[in-house]
């Protein structure tokens, strides 16, 4: 088939591709032009073009700020802990759901698990204060009525970390199961039947059939998570964090918000954003390379 015939036959598929491409061009590649702000003394009355070039001065300034290193450390720390706790959670939940026999119970559980994903972080923040507050929080009310000292879940930095992680799991674990459940439907049922015939128990089947079939999905998601190691959402640390635990809750995204949007120093904020993007890219490539070498799985 020549090129013309090929195109005539498949043009509809290409037409479908136009929209995602446009999305990436308009919303992802177009704004990259703004990166030049990092190298300019940005004055928003004169626009990007009118502002003066300053070379790497802004980078020097950012790298000399104590808060930059503190927020960088916190970003990596929170993401790493999240990876330990929130990454396996949806996998475990998905396998548990998959093992459920009763269809209506499975559907009900799924719905209940998905709901938190659709609640805005601002509202979750409100709920967190009501549940974990020291003085009138639900949990502490129970603790104190049993005669124990109240636990400062939100104001002691170590306790706060636990709160942060638990809330993260609650919010994302259910939704995260979707990809795993989709992958699980692709497993050949005959494998399980054969295992039954061989007398394998439930745990054995999970270990030898379910998990290996999920391996490509797990690796892909792991690479993506590692790529996001240095990027961190704004809402969760901002909403759940507070003045008392800022030593841990202040992360790069809240730093960018404070310096860029609140203080109007767009140049410095862009520098931090660019830094995050470059390091994030290195992490993705690194993780991809490692997984190719070690497990022969990769996404690139």
């Amino acid at each position: 088939m020549n090129a013309f015939g090929y195109l005539r036959r498949y043009w509809q598929l290409y037409a479908l591709l136009v929209f995602p491409l446009l999305y990436f061009i308009i919303f992802k590649y177009g704004p990259m032009y703004g990166i030049v702000i990092a190298f300019k003394d940005f004055n928003f009355f004169q626009g990007i073009n009118g502002s003066k070039w300053i070379g790497l001065d802004a980078f020097r300034e950012v790298f000399a700020m104590g808060d930059f290193y503190k927020t960088l450390r916190n970003t990596i720390m929170l993401n790493f802990l999240d990876l330990l706790v929130s990454f396996p959670a949806p996998l475990i939940v998905a396998i548990m759901l998959y093992e459920l026999k009763s269809a209506w119970f499975k559907k009900l559980s799924q719905t209940i698990l998905y709901i938190p994903h659709f609640i805005s972080w601002v509202i979750i923040g409100g709920i967190v204060y009501q549940v974990f507050g020291t003085q009138s929080g639900m949990i502490n009310n129970i603790i104190t009525s049993l005669g124990f000292e109240a636990v400062p879940f939100l104001t002691n930095k170590a306790d706060w970390l636990v709160t942060y992680l638990i809330v993260g799991v609650w919010q994302s674990a259910g939704w995260g199961t979707i990809i795993y459940l989709a992958a699980l439907t692709g497993i050949n049922r005959e494998l399980f039947e054969a295992a039954d015939v061989d007398g394998a128990g439930r745990v054995r089947k999970i270990w030898s059939i379910t998990l290996p079939s999920l391996k490509p999905t797990i690796v892909t998601l792991l690479i993506i998570s590692l790529g996001n190691m240095i990027a961190i959402g704004f809402e969760r640390p901002y909403v759940i964090g507070n003045t008392a635990v800022r030593e841990y809750s202040d992360v790069l995204s809240t730093f960018v918000y404070r310096v860029g949007i609140e203080s109007g120093q767009y140049t410095l904020a862009t520098v931090v954003g660019l830094f995050q993007a470059v390091v994030g890219l290195l992490f993705v490539l690194g993780a991809n390379y490692a997984s190719k070498k070690l497990a022969d799985q990769s996404i690139l």
Partner: protein
């Protein structure tokens, strides 16, 4: 593309010409009609003829949207916008439009508006000093000096030299600061019924207060079941500032200038002698469980208000008249516990036996005209109109006999008026932008206007609170040119300041010194030192 641009700039120029000619004709009209009783209607007839054929100019004015518009009106169309259009817009052939900006995100949204360059209102404003300084420094604002002389004589007269001085940047007038009618900030409040129950005297000093708080804690006169919060605290300035400033030692003029740190619009005492003592006192209160345990989470007083209105709090400081509004804190408290009585009290005492409190700068918002605005003349005329005759009075007080009755020159608001009538003024504070608070001639009258605006049973306490907030006050320290390091590090350091308060209060007493040292070091290295150096240099230059 190029052609298009040229076309646009040609259009702009004609637009300016039209605006100028309208301005000229209206000015004549205004001059000729000023003697006839009150501007409005007379100039309407005079200018209607001369400018009937010219196209109406459009003046865009920013307005805060607090999401509280009553049904039937919106923030861009309500009684006051109609009042402005009828009395200023239509007679001058100007179409006045309002551009809403959410109150809680004012600075961020304004930054975006200003940066967009195309859709910027002709009159914008902010309370935030660094934002004004930044706009002025980056060359985004219209120089208002000549415009004000030419088109705003009433406005100039109304604002006065002292107020206008705050709108200067590098010797040029880039903003018209609104005039503030009442400079007092804070008062403290105590549960009188608790004192009575325990037969305790009204505390007069910080030491007596401490003893009273102890008694509240031990005897729990409110029968809260152990949930009593003797001292209500938050990390909003109204709660911590009165306490902290009372610990600051008497300072020399030089110390005041060099050691004070202005972050945002407020002066912070971080480096002043005595600050550590204040923190130590808070640490003591916290560890003896005398203040709100979660105050570090309470950025906007929400939790404090809940606690006060549910009767858990014995004593707290607040913006002077905040508790007394209809349906406000005190009203809710009394709804929950009919026997509750709140008394205004001035109690934090410094070593000289005074009750020092900061007061406001004599200004409200900075009103600015972006450089890109084509309607600077109309904008000044709008503000001048507001300052002339009784326009401001009408915008703030509504219609005589319906919204208020005059008593000794003070408008007494008719609190029993129909909702529809009261709703006319729901956003008067955000519409009458040239003034912060009511302007009736002098400070005492202005205060009285606030007092009579409160529900009857609370008026006496309101008067007391307003007297407290005005006594023993000290003025903000201002240099004649902005400190650049303050603009740069202000936001960061405000957060650090709050962190210092919260963390030093919450640590165990034996860890207090270590925590204080390390946090102060962090504060200084994050910009505090840079501000100190710049202020020291500026002080030397000033002398």
């Amino acid at each position: 593309m190029v052609q298009k641009r040229r076309h646009a700039s040609f259009k702009k120029r004609t637009g300016q010409l039209v605006a100028l000619s309208i301005a000229g004709s209206v000015l004549l009209a205004a001059c000729s009609s000023n003697n006839a009783d009150n501007g409005g209607s007379a100039s309407a007839t005079a200018s209607a003829g001369s400018s009937a054929k010219t196209k109406a100019a459009t003046l865009k004015v920013e307005v805060f949207d607090r999401g509280n518009s009553p049904t039937g009106s919106s923030i861009t169309k309500n009684y006051l916008t109609t009042f402005v259009q009828d009395n200023f817009g239509t007679p001058n052939n100007i179409n006045v439009q309002y551009v809403p900006v959410p109150r809680s995100e004012e600075v961020n949204k304004l930054n975006v508006l200003m940066a967009s360059g195309t859709d910027v209102p002709d009159v914008v404003f902010t309370y935030d000093t660094p934002t004004f300084n930044r706009y002025a420094q980056q060359g985004g604002l219209t120089d208002l000096g000549e415009l004000l002389d030419q088109y705003g004589p009433n406005l100039k007269n109304f604002l006065g030299e002292d107020t206008l001085a705050y709108g200067q940047y590098d010797g040029k007038l880039y903003a018209l600061p609104a005039r503030r009618s009442h400079l007092g900030k804070y008062a403290s409040f105590i549960r009188q019924d608790w004192l009575d129950k325990l037969s305790l005297p009204m505390p007069q000093t910080t030491d007596e207060l401490y003893a009273t708080l102890k008694a509240f804690k031990d005897k729990d006169p409110g029968q809260t079941g152990g949930k009593v919060i003797p001292l209500g605290m938050s990390i909003a300035p109204a709660q911590y500032e009165p306490l902290i400033w009372s610990f600051i030692k008497p300072t020399s003029e030089e110390q005041r200038y060099t050691l004070t740190q202005q972050l945002g619009s407020n002066d912070f005492p971080t480096l002043l002698p005595g600050f550590k003592d204040a923190l130590q006192f808070m640490n003591k209160l916290y560890n003896e469980k005398l203040i709100s345990p979660d105050f570090g989470l309470d950025k906007d007083k929400t939790k404090l208000s809940q606690n006060v209105s549910s009767g858990l709090v014995g004593f707290f400081s607040e913006d002077d008249m905040n508790p007394f509004y209809a349906d406000g804190l005190y009203a809710t408290l009394q709804k929950n516990m009919p026997d509750a009585k709140l008394a205004a009290v001035d109690v934090y005492t410094n070593e000289e036996g005074k009750h020092p409190k900061p007061e406001y700068t004599p200004i409200g918002m900075y009103l600015m005209i972006p450089k890109s605005s084509k309607n600077a003349v109309e904008a000044i005329k709008y503000l001048d109109w507001m300052a002339s005759g009784d326009n401001l009075f009408k915008m703030q007080n509504g219609v005589e006999g319906e919204n208020y009755t005059l008593k000794d020159g003070t408008p007494v608001m008719n609190t029993n008026a129909a909702e529809e009538i009261k709703n006319r003024l729901y956003n008067q504070g955000d519409m009458a932008i040239i003034s912060n608070g009511k302007q009736l001639g002098d400070a005492d009258k202005n205060i009285e206007a606030y007092v009579v605006g409160m529900p009857q049973p609370y008026q006496e306490e309101t008067r007391k609170a307003l007297t407290i907030s005005r006594s023993d006050t000290f003025k903000p320290v201002r240099f004649d040119k902005p400190i650049e390091a303050e603009a740069k590090y202000g936001t960061t350091l405000q957060d650090k300041f709050k962190e210092i308060i919260v963390k030093t209060a919450m640590v165990k007493p034996e860890q207090f010194d270590g925590t204080y040292e390390s946090m102060m070091k962090d504060y200084l290295s994050s910009g505090g030192q840079a501000i100190l150096d710049e202020r020291t240099a500026a002080y030397k230059a000033m002398k």
